[in-house]
Amino acid sequence: MYQEVILDHYKHPHGRGLRDGDAEVHHVNPTCGDEITLRVKYDGERVEDVSYEGQGCSISQASASVLNDLLVGKDLETARRIQETFLELMQSKGTIEPDDAMEEVLEDAVAFAGVSKFPARVKCALLSWMAWKDATAQALGESEKKEKSA
């Protein structure tokens, strides 16, 4: 599961550090103590920045770095599609072999396909993505309810 790409992101995280944002969330994975503080900044419907700080395993750290790479600069709809695709991949229990279409959407993040075979680690990979989703909902003033039924 430790693809070169993942180790690279872990050792040299992209966009790490907390910068100015419209909303901040703090998420914890209680079973292993992974933590992330994450801020999002929007320019209208465009993801201007995702900044973060946290501690955790290589998977959760690398995943946050990949997220920063993938989402910054995208418009909200595209960002959401990426998030959903990543979620789908991670919940696949190793049954999804990413095809070209998926690779186009997820880029480096397809390296996490192998992680989906390890139930104990899926939560690590999803930590920052769930935090981003939550922060985005707050930044855009969506009620939690609306978010849930989305």
């Binding site: 599961m1 998977i59 680690r121």
Partner: protein, 418 residues
């Protein structure tokens, strides 16, 4: 191969444990270093389970037919074996539960519903320690919330021992119960029972000992401990899952109220009221874990045949060796006593900045099974300012070669993430 004084004949012992031959990741023979989470099971225990189900399976008590009498004799015979194993003054002091957690909850609930002088209420205090397993924390937090009693605890020293310097302030005339672990599952620390029991007796508090990490590894003598309750769990002592034990002093078990209600625990029932059977049955509602008790009896036979002193000596030798070898690994920090004195065979550590999840995962690829996380003792992690640890834990089947494999594996981990 490393030979250490005091080792058991692990070649022979390992033949009894089918899982230790397990191959993982294609061609890696398993190196099982997670016995503090649960132990593997010898053939002898599995045979006892199978024999029970194939020849003697029936519901226990009250049956007048042959198989039911046999099942009852086997179940109650297991109680005799466990009573002898812990040197209980009476077999009727041995209560079968589903695990140590239920045993500890049982004590907390007995006291919550008890009459004076045992009753825990808002005028009284409960004492635990910062190194408890969650199963010896949460029941007392719940009891405290439900009764208004104050929950207090002993803190820890930097080297992973109980800080008893303020024992007279912690255990006071208000203390009704002191509950603590004999051996920490995270730190490995063996606690000074006598000091705590003496103070508790001074103020008339009851003492409950969580022996989950002790019963599998050392001679457990409930009379020598001088406690009032002792809890432990079958699956960590080469027994089946689904069975635990609570030993309690007879007078207490007579006086204290039942917890779960149902079949088996009653004397007589009418719609208007019921009376309860004498202990231990008073505390065993419903069809008990019959096969699991029989399996635990076989486990106790297995351990006794090898001898608990011999097992303790073996583990001490392995632990001493492991401490020495682990401290050779750069950036490795042992969380808990960094010696083999007064400690059990569970060794927790951190490895530089590498997250325990990554340590565990990379070790797994080498076939090495260790546990990572807070080991159900999160307050200990908070105390030492770490999110989690990697824990290797040894048992009667562990070998110095497995320690070496672990150390090699950790070198590999360091290179991998270095």
């Amino acid at each position: 191969m490393t030979n250490l004084p005091g080792l058991l004949d692990t070649d022979a012992i390992r033949k009894d444990f089918p899982l230790l031959d397990r191959i993982v990741h294609g061609d890696k023979k398993i190196v099982y270093l997670d016995s503090a989470a649960t132990s593997q099971k010898p053939r002898q225990v599995l045979d006892a389970l199978n024999e029970y189900y194939e020849l003697h399976n029936a519901n226990v008590h009250r049956g007048v037919y042959t198989v039911a009498e046999e099942a009852t004799a086997l179940y109650e015979g297991a109680r005799d074996k466990v009573a002898a194993f812990i040197n209980a003054p009476s077999r009727d002091e041995v209560i079968f539960t589903k695990n140590a957690s239920e045993s500890l909850n049982l004590v907390a609930n007995m006291l919550g519903w008890a009459d004076e002088p045992y009753r825990v209420d808002r005028e009284t205090e409960i004492v635990i320690t910062e190194m408890e397993h969650h199963s010896n924390i949460v029941p007392w937090q719940l009891l405290s919330q439900r009764t208004g009693a104050k929950l207090k605890w002993f803190g820890l020293t930097d080297d992973g021992r109980l800080d008893l310097s303020n024992i007279e302030e912690i255990i006071t005339e208000k203390t009704k119960i002191v509950s603590f672990t004999l051996v920490s599952n995270l730190l490995g620390t063996i606690n000074p029972v006598e000091t705590i029991v003496r103070r508790a007796q001074q103020v008339g508090a009851l003492v409950c000992i969580d022996a989950s990490q002790a019963a599998p590894h050392m001679v457990l003598d409930v009379q020598a401990l001088q406690a009032d309750f002792v809890a432990f769990t079958g699956h960590k002592m080469v027994g089946p899952t689904g069975i635990g034990v609570l030993w309690g002093r007879q007078e207490l078990l007579e006086d204290l109220p039942p917890f779960l209600g149902g079949g088996e625990m009653i004397e007589t029932v009418s719609m208007h009221s019921s009376t309860y059977a004498p202990a231990p049955h008073k505390f065993e509602a419903g069809t008990p874990p019959i096969a699991q008790a029989v399996g635990l009896g076989a486990a106790v036979d297995y351990l006794s045949a090898i001898g608990m002193e011999n097992i303790a000596r073996h583990e001490h030798a392995i632990t001493e060796y492991a401490v020495k070898r682990l401290l050779e690994v750069p950036d490795l920090r042992i969380i808990g006593p960094a010696t083999a004195e007064d400690r059990g065979a569970a060794l927790s550590f951190t490895l530089g900045d590498i997250h325990p999840h990554d340590v565990g995962q990379v070790l797994d690829e080498e076939g090495i099974a260790v546990r990572v996380g807070h080991h159900c003792a999160r307050p200990v992690c908070l105390r030492y300012g770490i999110p989690a640890t990697t824990r290797a834990s040894f048992y009667l089947y562990s070998t110095p070669g497995e320690v070496d494999a672990l150390v090699d594996g950790l070198e590999h981990v360091r290179n991998f993430f270095g």
